[in-house]
Symmetry: C2
Subunit: 251 residues, 2 copies
DNA sequence: TATCATTTGTTCGTATGTATC
DNA sequence: CGATACATACGAACAAATGAT
């Protein structure tokens, strides 16, 4: 019987009431919310107002709605996908990618040729419009059903120096690093993390629920002369993903 | 004149048409979209349909709407806030936090006592419900106007071992690390990155626009015996933020 | 398999409030 | 003050997905 008296729009008041009930645990995580008809009755408002309130909660990621079934409290499950980067104190060239090994290819890799954009050119230290080999792979984690998109961009210069690369642009990162190391490079990496909302087609391919950001991880591999050799971009839903960097202070 | 013939709901078709126009650059970044009345005219649909379409674009972060003014294409400005972690090849104890030094305190720091939650207990290697010192600081970047919330959580055990800490829980990270190093600890860090949508009050304090995720950076400082000494949590809007980790392969 | 009740999704119409210029 | 633009709220009807009968 929570009376609605707070200031603001009606639907905001309804949304606040439901939100506080959720955060107080009055609605079980994973459990159902009252139906729209019940919420109309409960708060004495019209259906558009109820729908507006629920829409606000969806945008906050608190509620999932299933057509024909009802609205449900999103279970605040902890991260199920842990990706770790361990730095330092390992033999040269060993860069471990925990958490990626389990993934399977969900679709055939797509290799193509493209050109640097403003963003990729800066990361690779090239001019805008230079030619690149590209390879897109859609990965899937069989345990959680989570999906991720891994895009590998290789400048022509790198392929010329390491001819094996051109034959296998869809190789796993570890294999690529081995090739580069075998070619005499001592590697280091620069990894940048950003987050943004996905576009609709990206939401579809990654099978993301509402209000789920995408983690955007760009890893540049550099060689002995500090030249950028490779750019890998990982796009993965942020809801259950955790990126961990272990950092040692040095010798 | 883009005729609407794609499948799906009417408002989705309208949203798709506008979205493609935006991505094709037909509407200038930062520039205005047609008014709702014009969009009704343009696509021969009712006002609820137009509003539904614009709401979809807001949720995607493509459009900002200002009451009484109109709808505007969100300018896809590149990251203005770069936070870097540079690791390795530095003297012991030197852990540089580029990009944080510029920030100013937007509000008086708030220190308090609290207890470990399920999440913080696991990060600190403690039981749930153990006592902590807490300090919340609201930071502001005078250049961009961006805001961030930095929460420092210190277990009682750490304060007992390093008595200076208890007197200054609101000290800057670098100062805290100096104290810990002076107490004989060789430090290392574990930093985890997650992204999620903010709650309404968090959106208000961080002054975030629609459809802007929050980057959630948890940094655990560990000492010589691998015991967790300190937990720092940074909450910052993801729209213009980039976290970069430079990774060396080791000696 | 088919039907039906329930629930959410979509679309129209209409009216009024409020911010901006 | 008025004109424009978005915000809120109500009512109504039909479509589509779901689950039980």
């Amino acid at each position: 019987m929570t009376e609605i008296q707070r200031p603001g729009a009606l639907y905001q008041q309804v949304a606040t009431a439901i939100r506080e009930a959720i955060l107080a645990g009055e609605y079980e995580p994973g459990g159902p919310l009252p139906s729209e008809a019940q919420l109309m009755e409960r708060y004495k408002v019209s259906r558009p107002t109820v729908r507006n309130a629920v829409a606000a909660l969806r945008a906050e990621g608190l509620v999932d709605v299933h057509h024909g079934k009802g609205s449900f409290v999103r279970s605040a499950s902890g991260p199920a996908i842990a990706i770790s980067r361990h730095i330092g104190r390992t033999p040269a060239g060993h860069f471990r990618l925990y958490g990626v090994a389990v993934w399977q290819q969900a679709e055939e890799p797509h290799t193509y040729r493209t050109h640097t954009t403003e963003a990729t050119a800066q990361l690779l230290g090239l001019q805008v419009g230079e030619a690149l080999f590209g390879c897109d792979q859609l990965l899937a984690d069989p345990d959680t059903g989570a999906r991720a998109m891994l895009r590998t961009l290789i400048p022509f210069a790198t392929v010329e120096a390491v001819s094996d690369l051109g034959k296998r642009p869809d190789a796993a990162p570890a294999a690529i690093y081995s090739m580069l190391t075998a070619a005499g490079h001592e590697l280091w990496w620069s990894e940048s993390v950003r987050a943004r909302m996905p576009l609709p087609d990206e939401r579809t391919t990654l099978r993301l629920p509402d209000a789920t950001p995408v983690l955007h991880v760009s890893r540049v591999t550099c060689g002995t002369d500090d030249q950028a050799l490779l750019l890998e971009e990982l796009h993965i839903g942020a809801a259950r993903t955790e990126l961990t960097y272990r950092i040692d202070a040095g010798e």
